[in-house]
Assembly symmetry: C2
Homo-oligomer: 332 residues x 2
């Protein structure tokens, strides 16, 4: 895979303005990559080692489908979407994950993700099913059951479930990944660090899964379809960019957010993927940068961009409702 | 005032780590300045134009005291502390601001700051008195009454109250400031942009007010004392760095946070002030940087640093309570 040989290009800059002046600035590292693995545009340091966090979920779900576990355990496309979700903890999410767990003989007591208040309503009590990652964990428990592996300890990097997930991701991303590369994610699952370019490559392979074996190709296609057909399950009904973007793009774009300013997008019809990381971890910067890259590289139609602009490039309003500033892209 | 003449020094870096690896990085611009105006340490670009936001409140309050309004309108030291506060909206704050307004013949209906839920409990209803800036606005209304200026429009940059405040700040900071320099703050008050070094200079003059006229000297000393003697009113009873730092320092350090990653600290016994801005606006970065600078320049005792370390350099815990990372200072 060609890596830019000159000095590191400038990062993409996202500014927050106030009264027309720059108040704060975010730096974005990003790779725009073709399905074959060529980087067509690099911003900042595409070799920066990052934690993809929840942006990795579509790849973390490949093992569930590719292994045959999803078919054997009658995992629906809606459940596959939930396995890839950072959901808002609305009833549609928690009820579906609860039913899935019951069907495989588990309960929320088996989930190791910890409890937090639903994203959709931070004033509701913390709950394990409302954890944005509860679907991913239901998928991991499903894989454990399929493998006849113990449910206890399913989050250990040495557990067969995590071993299978990690080796599948390493294969897709083209980098060796061991327990030593892993940090512990917000939900206590292992999350492997890797160069940003490797994350992009993983999604390039995911997108062009027809080049992989029949089983992997079929698994990746099924995950893509499940996510774009269930955008409400991947995010939520309010203020969720993944949901808004996938709804507007009507199957043409898969997107997935990750904590600390990560984002990926997959655009098969353009044979292109985007992987980005806000250096400082700010979600507001990652969302603005995703818009900027979809726009600059003509990867989304004007109506799709218009649909996500209020979430990506919001005007800034103060407590009195006054318009005090803006979110602005500066490609240097 | 000497400005570093070489190329811009490196910013201070604050890293968030996960599993011992850097996950996100913040860049901090900072000036450590002596009372006479000499910069003894510069990080990043001390001439970067910033909005001080609420870090400016102690200087915004100078006009209230210096004009004689505070004395005439029997403004207490507790109320001066509230005028400088970004308070948590607890009963002690809202009751005191309400009583202050009543005393000057105003009510919360006169406050132009807008309503938000108290910082202390984001699930309570939004309220105008709970706005973290309600004390600053009570001070502005007090000044309007004292000047026989209309209460209506007290937030316009052309209003006599804002004109007096702006010219006092310009004088302290040593820069010309007009309405054109102002953005609209979160609370709808004008907030002047200025170089970071000018903000530092303003607080250097504030600290060494004995060099200024008798009235300004007395005003600045009174504001300093009011804040350090009422740290709970300046912040709140939980998770507020200004409060924790001023409580621990027992009168030796004044500190004030501002939105979008601003921070100032004033340490008269060391004849030193700190002014800093996180480039990306992150509060977590500003708090870590304040600790780093107090430590590196020996401006706080070990027990003061120990008291604020949990707020400034927190270990990162996930939803399951696991220790997954840290906040780390890197001075390059």
């Amino acid at each position: 895979m060609p890596i830019p040989t000159a000095s590191v290009p400038l990062p993409l800059a996202v500014h927050l303005t106030r009264g027309g002046k720059i108040e704060s600035t975010h730096r974005i590292h990003a790779a725009v990559m073709q399905g074959g693995g060529d980087i067509v545009a690099a911003y900042g340091d595409v070799n920066r080692v990052i934690f993809p966090r929840s942006a990795l979920k579509p790849l973390q779900t490949v093992a569930l489908v590719e292994s045959g576990a999803a078919t054997r355990m009658t995992v629906s496309d809606a459940e596959i979407a939930l396995a890839c979700a950072s959901h808002s903890g609305e009833d549609m999410h928690t009820n579906a994950v609860g039913a899935w767990l019951a069907r495989i003989g588990c309960s929320e007591a088996d989930l190791g993700c910890g409890a937090h208040a639903p994203y959709a309503d931070g004033c509701k009590p913390a709950a394990v099913l409302a954890n944005n990652c509860s679907g991913k964990h239901a998928g991991m428990l499903t894989l454990a059951k399929f493998m006849d592996a113990p449910v206890d300890g399913y989050l250990d990097t040495a557990h067969p479930v995590q071993q299978m997930i990690l080796s599948t991701i390493a294969d897709l991303c083209g980098v060796p990944l061991t327990a030593c590369d892993c940090g512990i994610d917000g939900c206590s699952a292992p999350n492997p660090s890797m160069p940003l370019s490797a994350l992009a490559r993983g999604f390039a392979h995911f997108m062009r899964a027809d080049r992989a074996g029949l089983r992997r190709g079929s698994a990746c296609r099924q995950i893509y379809q499940a996510m774009v057909e269930h955008p409400l399950l991947v995010g939520g009904s309010k203020n969720r960019l993944d949901t808004a973007l996938m709804q507007a793009a009507q199957g043409q774009i898969l997107s997935k957010t990750g904590a600390e300013g990560c984002y990926i997008a997959v655009i098969p019809a353009k044979d292109m993927v985007i992987a980005l990381k806000a250096e400082d971890g700010a979600a507001r910067a990652a969302q603005a940068a995703l818009y900027a890259l979809l726009d600059a590289h003509q990867l989304a139609t004007p109506d799709v961009l218009a649909a996500i602009e209020p979430l990506c490039l919001p005007r800034l309003r103060n407590w009195g409702g006054a318009d005090v500033g803006a979110t602005v892209i500066d490609r240097n």
